[in-house]
């Protein structure tokens, strides 16, 4: 009696008095398989059937390479901009008090909640040559719509909440005493922010960057209206996938999709690495 283990295991799970595991787990697995795993399997099978040499030739296509470059390149720039501007926004939302703060805080989530097509047409209208903002750019001789610049603008819109929402909770957790310590040691406010606060936010910043980048790379609806979709100039990879599908070139479409998925998974992996690396520092110092 006294030698029973503290936790009994039934198969692969620990025993619990709470009922319903079988049902809930079963439903979960069944639905997951139906909706995600089977379609995913179709994708994997299809990519497998293309074979290495098939991939090589498909990806050697200049238009494909260009589309991937536009998608990833614009996503990169947009993610960087989102970090540079998102950090101050997050700071202001956490540290400052001002009337209407709750509303502003909620607004940050708009790109997350707004349907991409709606964002797409409104951004296209705003930044077109005769649009409210496009006019100003036009006055300086800069074209935004129908260029990669327009794509970047749309991707900035999309990625904004990812950086801000990832960094916000970390700013909230900053220990004020560490700031006070830096001040007692003679650091002025700028030095404290640059050398003590920002480095401690680095993991969250990187995570936000990776999330914004991953989302932006695959973005479709907000981009295609403002981009102009000119092949070799402002054509994004998701659009090329659709074009290939309409040509019944499933292999071509799958090839592009696989590359994009590979990058997504890489990003996920990087994010997990960052979280693990963070734990090196954050164990109660």
């Amino acid at each position: 009696m006294y030698n029973q283990p503290l936790t009994e295991r039934i198969g692969f799970r620990r025993h619990s008095v709470i009922p319903g595991f079988g049902l809930s787990f079963g439903v979960t697995i069944a639905w997951l398989t139906l909706i995600i795993l089977i379609p995913l399997a179709a994708l994997v099978l299809h990519s497998a059937s293309i074979g290495f040499s098939g991939y090589a030739s498909l990806l050697a296509d200049e238009r494909t390479q260009n589309a991937l470059g536009v998608s990833f390149g614009c996503a990169l720039i947009a993610a960087i901009v989102n970090v540079l501007f998102g950090l101050p926004v997050a700071w202001v939302l956490v540290r400052y008090r001002f009337p209407g703060k709750r509303i502003v805080d909620a607004i940050v989530d708009l790109p997350f909640a707004l349907p991409t097509a709606v964002a797409g047409i409104s951004l296209a209208a705003l930044y077109a040559k005769n649009g409210w903002v496009g006019q100003i750019f036009n006055w300086f001789g800069v074209k935004v719509a129908f260029t990669p610049a327009g794509i970047i603008v749309a991707l900035i819109f999309i990625g904004l909440p990812f950086v801000v929402r990832t960094v916000q909770p970390v700013i909230e957790e900053i220990d004020k005493e560490v700031e006070e310590a830096a001040a007692t040691l003679g650091a002025n406010r700028f030095q404290t922010i640059a050398r003590v606060i920002v480095p401690s936010l680095l993991p969250a910043i990187l995570t936000g960057f990776a999330l914004a980048f991953a989302r932006a790379a695959g973005e479709y609806g907000s981009v295609i209206f403002i981009a102009g979709n000119i092949p070799y100039v402002s054509e994004i990879a998701p659009l090329l996938i659709i074009i290939r599908l309409e040509e019944f070139n499933y292999a071509g479409a799958t090839a592009i999709a696989t590359v994009m998925l590979a990058v997504s998974f890489l990003m996920l992996f990087v994010i997990n690495l960052i979280q693990a690396w963070t734990r090196r520092y954050t164990n109660a110092a």
């Binding site: 620990r14 008095v17 709470i18 009922p19 319903g20 595991f21 049902l23 809930s24 787990f25 439903v27 979960t28 639905w31 995600i36 795993l37 379609p39 179709a42 994708l43 299809h46 101050p88 926004v89 700071w91 202001v92 540290r95 001002f98 709750r102 502003v104 805080d105 909620a106 707004l114 349907p115 991409t116 097509a117 709606v118 047409i121 409104s122 951004l123 296209a124 209208a125 649009g131 903002v133 819109f157 004020k176 001040a183 007692t184 406010r189 695959g218 479709y220 609806g221 998701p238 659009l239 996938i241 659709i242 599908l245 019944f248 479409a253 999709a257 994009m260 998925l261 997504s264 990003m267």
Partner: protein, 296 residues
Amino acid sequence: MPHESPRGLQMEHTPRKWRSATSEPLWAKASLLIAALAYLSLIIILPLVSVMVEAFRNGAGEYLAALKEPDALAAIRLTLLVAAIAVPLNLVFGLAASWAIAKFEFKGKAFLITLIDLPFSVSPVISGLVYVLLFGAQSALGPWLKNHGIEILFAVPGIVLATIFVTFPFVARELIPLMQEQGTAEEEAAITLGANGWQTFTRVTLPNIKWGLLYGVLLCNARAMGEFGAVSVVSGHIRGLTTTMPLHVEILYNEYNLAAAFAVASLLALLALLTLVVRTVLEIWFSHGIAGNNKH
């Protein structure tokens, strides 16, 4: 009261401006605040405002006419139908998944959560692509479906499936951390008091998660109604039959029927705003101490 020390050293007669150790000087704060608000206005508020302005550009009469147009109405009906199917299904799934994950310990949890999150991290176009590969003309199932006259792609079922795929994680993602944080103590207590599984769930768990559940459902719904990329791939864009509201917006826009496009878009924008408003209201209630808040 100025006075000199015996050694004649300089004394501070008037207090200087106080500098706090943990906040920026006032001028820096003001500039940063204004810059941040200006940035947010440009990037987020301006597009939102422009949707509304453009929608009513030709007056309220044209606005309503655009919405009452048969193809628009069909699009609205289809959107509502798709959401009415996808959201409840994913709601049930979300509840099942979060119950299994939050209330039990088993191996492979992290992997399961990653799988659940999958649709969240892939491009919507790829989400549609997988269904084309599964049911399309060149797929294994394609010919069989054709022979039996079953239309999945380029018809409503395909749209429903693609929508279910992309909105799959939303309820679960809201509920899992919430239920994990709430732990298992209350449910175990109920069991020891003689409640069965269903009673425990409805009378102990459900009340605790109701606001997280509501918000998850709202997000799921907003995404279901607003999904564009995935549905674009599988729908075939047949006006009046297989166009949802976002697709209809695209069609109108490409026809340079801008005011009508924005009119339909404004409905979706209002839905997004409603979602945000509910979230803000819930947060205000949460911060006054209703279940689930972990900030202190």
